[in-house]
């Protein structure tokens, strides 16, 4: 009797327990299920028909008329073009990642890099945009937007493409939770807080709060740099020697010793030299352009003598030749104290040098502090500076508890006019997206990284606090990041231009933007992204999804696509590229190609793409500094070297023939400009 009763009881209990589990699971499912359903898998979707194709998220201006008769002629004359040997060709460095090579394009890139005339430079980049759009060294897919998610109690927020924002420009509403603390939710641990070592965007953002550079950008402005630790600057006529007048009355604050050190011109020379001697990941930014051994502190009397002969200076739209220090300072509207003058010598004139000096590796460190803690060792990192940054910026680091949080405090000695209103910053490192979003929604974070695929979880979120209902703000920010398809131009049949163009026409851009980027992107046209100097989309081919046209181009190329298998390589962990590959697989299969997808771990993927062992791979590119050369060079350079590339503006073809061998020269147009690229005479 007893055992039967027990069995009956146990059955009831099991039934109850199962029911409870089901109810809990159902409740949890309802609570955790997205309110808007995620996009369906791309592969199952039929590719959009051409007529269904809608314009990209931010449609560019439509092409006006075809270029008219050239009114102005630019001549690019190169000398001794030689191609680097195969073992010296490194993708993204000396050759395009697709191993595409084009002498004319290389000459244009060299001309763009070294021409100081801004008007010519702009035309050159617009032509580069046109060439890269037509030749497709890479198939340009999308330019990304980034969602920025923060509570509306944070005021004054802005987003710069490389520096993001400085916290001293922000304010928090006094009725917000913890009004004195800015609480950030980040995804990962910083790699290093030594400007000479780190090459990671997140680290650069933290260092931007602690360190200053010679020049910087005014909030989200990207066009011009403004004075920072340099109060003024001027250069010689040929722009190879630059002089920076260092601001006076600035101090470094060392929170570990609770000591201050005045900023000296020597610190500037030391900082730049340090980057080159340590030779870590970002060193190329300084090393490529600046000859640090020739950089030096210039005594004021000597500088007065140099400037008396006349130096050129530019600031915002103004250009002037100045003949005295006073005149120079007046030109910049600076009336404060100065600490001295520093001379920087460039390896060759480089128009983007000021943009380079606004990047994190060009941050100014305190020589005395670094020397007291191990100094500089060639090729080695300095473990002290790695997590003990001492700078002149608006905040200083209090604590870096690894993999947990970083705490910054307002620097009481900060020299700038925007004194920090928020006194404390906590950067919490929360790798799990769901957890980070939970903390943000509860109001325990003010600003947090939210991946585009999870944006729906933070849409329309409000919080009642302090008698007010606050909204979570989602701001879509255009970035300079472009995603592209890398076709291996050394492999058949992708080495044929028409095949690349056919693939470009068979790429469903809108579907990629919608599915892979959740609509947070817009179409890219060439190597130069929208928002960058030299961008144009009014004299390019607007590749739109058009299977018929793609088939026509394949016929023109004379290949039978059914004979070829194309493998798309992607790196694991990048959902956007995975989605993109699936869409491309479905679309390109319609052309007759057999398309395979291969997902590889990052080191293996790197090995394959760097050695050219691929058909197609998918990647993206973001800026190191704001200049088109940072895109045109690494992404479309063909491995040519020249002993000289010169640019002339001429009135007629006859005049052009004086500089170049016209018969072999390439003629390119952009609106009323004719750009002739050819071998120099003599």
């Amino acid at each position: 009797m007893r055992s039967r009763k027990n069995i009956a009881l146990s059955k009831v209990l099991i039934a109850v327990a199962v029911a409870v589990i089901i109810v809990i699971a159902a409740v949890a499912l309802i609570l955790l299920t997205p309110k808007t359903p995620p996009a369906p898998p791309a592969a199952k979707k039929p590719a959009a028909k051409p007529e269904e194709e809608k314009p990209a998220v931010t449609p560019p201006k439509k092409p006006p008329a075809k270029p008219t008769v050239a009114k102005r002629i630019l001549v690019i004359a190169y000398k001794n073009a030689t191609k680097l040997p195969k073992d010296k060709l490194v993708p993204y460095s000396t050759i395009s990642p697709s191993f595409y090579s084009n002498l004319t394009l290389d000459a244009l890139i060299w001309a763009g890099r070294y021409t100081t005339n801004p008007e010519w430079r702009e035309v050159i980049y617009k032509v580069i945009q046109k060439v890269t759009n037509y030749e497709l060294p890479l198939i340009w897919v999308a330019q990304l937007k980034r969602p920025r998610v923060y509570w509306e109690w944070v005021k004054g927020i802005y987003f710069h493409p490389t520096l993001v924002f400085r916290i001293n420009h922000l304010e928090k509403d006094p009725t917000a939770p913890e009004p004195g603390i800015f609480r950030v939710g980040a995804t990962e641990e910083p790699h290093s807080l030594d400007p000479a070592v780190s090459y990671w965007g997140f680290d650069w953002w933290i260092m931007h709060q602690i360190y200053d550079k010679l020049v910087t950008y005014e909030k989200e402005e990207t066009k011009y740099v403004v004075p920072c630790l340099a109060a003024a600057w001027a250069h010689t006529e040929n722009a190879t020697v630059w002089f920076f007048v260092i601001r006076g009355g600035v101090v470094f604050y060392d929170p570990w010793e609770n000591k201050t050190y005045p900023l000296e011109p020597e610190d500037v020379v030391y900082s730049l030299r340090r980057v080159v001697i340590m030779h870590q990941d970002p060193c190329w930014l300084i090393e490529t352009f600046i000859d640090v051994n020739k950089c030096a502190v210039v005594p004021l009397e000597k500088f007065e003598k140099i400037i008396a002969k006349g130096l050129v200076t530019e600031f915002k739209d103004k250009v002037a030749t100045v003949k005295s220090l006073d005149e120079l300072l007046k030109f910049f509207g600076y009336e404060g104290k100065i600490a001295g003058v520093v001379k920087l010598v460039l390896k060759s004139p480089y128009p983007a040098i000021l943009n380079i000096l606004a990047t994190s590796p060009a941050s100014i460190v305190c020589k005395d502090v670094v020397e007291a803690h191990g100094g500089i060792k060639p090729g080695e990192i300095n473990p002290w500076v790695y997590e003990h940054p001492v700078g002149t910026g608006p905040y200083y680091l209090v604590k870096w508890v690894h993999k947990q949080y970083l705490e910054l405090r307002a620097n009481p000695y900060y020299w700038g006019k925007d004194k920090p209103k928020i006194k404390k910053v906590i950067i919490k490192l929360i790798p799990e997206d769901e957890t980070r979003i939970m903390l943000l929604k509860k109001g325990d974070l003010d600003y947090a990284a939210v991946p585009p695929s999870l944006l729906f979880k933070v849409k329309g979120v409000t919080l009642k606090y302090g008698g007010k209902t606050w909204k979570l703000v989602i701001k879509e920010q255009e970035t300079l990041v472009i995603d592209y398809i890398v076709p291996n131009c050394e492999r058949e049949p992708i080495n044929i231009l028409e095949v690349r163009q056919a693939l470009a026409f068979a790429t469903p851009y809108d579907q990629i933007i919608k599915v892979a980027h959740g609509g947070l992107a817009f179409k890219a046209y060439g190597v130069i992204p929208k928002g960058m100097f030299g961008f144009q989309c009014d004299d390019v081919i607007d590749y739109k999804y058009d299977i018929e046209k793609a088939k026509e181009l394949l016929k023109k190329a004379g290949i039978d696509p059914t004979k070829y298998t194309i493998t798309i390589l992607i790196c694991e962990g990048y959902k956007e590229f995975q989605d993109m590959a699936t869409i491309l697989q479905a679309a390109w299969s319609q052309l007759g190609f057999k398309v395979k997808i291969q997902v590889l771990s990052r080191p293996v993927f790197n090995q394959k793409i760097m050695t050219g062992d691929f058909d197609i791979n998918l990647l993206g590119w973001g800026p190191d500094y704001i200049d088109p050369d940072d895109y045109a060079g690494p992404l479309s350079y063909g491995g040519y070297r020249f002993t000289e590339v010169k640019v002339y503006e001429v009135k007629s073809l006859e005049e052009a023939a004086k500089y170049i061998k016209l018969e072999t020269a390439k003629k390119l147009t952009y609106h009323d400009w004719l750009v002739i690229v050819g071998e120099a005479r003599g």
Partner: protein, 334 residues
């Protein structure tokens, strides 16, 4: 006791080939992957060839694997575990930072497992086929089948987001003085009760999440091994002799504890190597996520450092388990 001493020496000697074997295998496996870690270390596609070449030289990547292994052994014996090319920190410093957090979480979870799992198992054995037994079975099945990240997020959602009782992420505030790196223990040792409270609050959710699958497992093992012993002849004999039930139970438990200790040893070993998912969900700064990052970046110095530590942990835990066996069951020493 002499037997135990020889037994220990014998066991200790097996340490050396085990550790060498583990490091050699890991080393070779890491090297045969056709990868280019130097490019990744130097910043991925943006890496400049000169920096990559410098890294290749520095980490001897241009040398054949056996020479690289020789360099590795040389460095290990001279106390240099290398600098991670990814975190830019000495591997030993990284491990010293993350291992105590993992050890604390593992110990906490082990205690939770022991103090909940074993009593539950014993009760369910004694009350076989009653509702307690069924509840324990449900715990065991749900523990084995429920994804850890799901449980973690649900617990966060209930105790942090909805009730606001416990923090969702990170470790508590460090105690005034740290002796061991285990914050709970250190805060008790230095009498910093505020730090103790904070650390206890922070460890409850990840600790319980990590312990939950183990509780069911240990309870089930305890149940079956107690049931086995209960049906043994010597227990019947003890009962017939009229020994007190508490005295009988001592014999039951001692005999039933061998499989329990085995499973606890294995669980503790794996807990000590880091629980990647729990650490990620709760932003717990432990060794698990460090190890996974090291593997995905093919960060050789970090991989080798972690392998060595994990190897040592496993052999030590195994040794402790063996010693416990020998103490509990003298037949093993023979």
């Amino acid at each position: 006791m002499g037997e135990l001493k020889y037994y220990l020496i014998r066991r200790l000697l097996t340490f050396i080939p085990t550790i060498i074997g583990v490091t050699l295998l890991t080393f070779l496996i890491a090297r045969v992957i056709p990868a280019n870690p130097a490019v990744l270390w130097a910043g991925g596609i943006k890496a400049k060839p000169e920096v990559v070449q410098l890294l290749i030289k520095k980490y001897h990547l241009d040398k054949p694997p056996h020479i690289q292994y020789f360099y590795y052994l040389k460095d290990i014996f001279t106390g240099h575990w290398g600098i991670s090319p990814v975190t830019h920190r000495p591997v030993i410093a990284d491990i010293a930072t993350y291992f105590p957090a993992t050890a604390e979480l593992a110990l906490f979870s082990l205690f939770v497992t022991i103090f909940i799992g074993i009593p539950l198992g014993v009760i369910s054995a004694l009350k076989k086929d009653t509702w307690i037994d069924h509840v324990v079975r449900i715990i065991a099945i749900s523990g084995a089948s429920m994804p850890v990240f799901w449980l973690g997020i649900i617990l966060q959602w209930i105790f942090y987001y909805s009730l606001g009782l416990l923090p969702a992420t990170g470790r508590g505030i460090p105690p005034r003085i740290t002796y061991t790196g285990l914050y709970l223990l250190d805060s008790l040792l230095c009498g910093d009760f505020e730090a103790f409270r904070s650390n206890l609050q922070h460890i409850i959710l990840p600790g319980f999440t990590l312990a939950y699958p183990c509780i069911g497992l240990v309870a089930r093992i305890t149940r079956s091994s107690v049931l086995d012993v209960l049906s043994a002849d010597f227990i019947d004999y003890a009962r017939i002799r009229g020994l007190k039930p508490s005295f009988v139970f001592r014999h039951v438990f001692r005999n039933a504890s061998i499989p329990i200790i085995t499973i606890l040893g294995l669980l503790f070993g794996s807990l000590l190597c880091g629980a990647v998912i729990t650490e990620t969900v709760f932003s717990w700064p432990g060794l698990g996520t460090y190890t996974v990052a090291a593997i995905s970046n093919i960060d050789y110095p970090a991989i080798m450092g972690v392998t060595l530590i994990i190897g040592l942990v496993y052999v030590t835990v195994n040794l402790i388990v063996d010693i416990l066996y020998a103490i509990i069951d003298p037949r093993i020493r023979l």
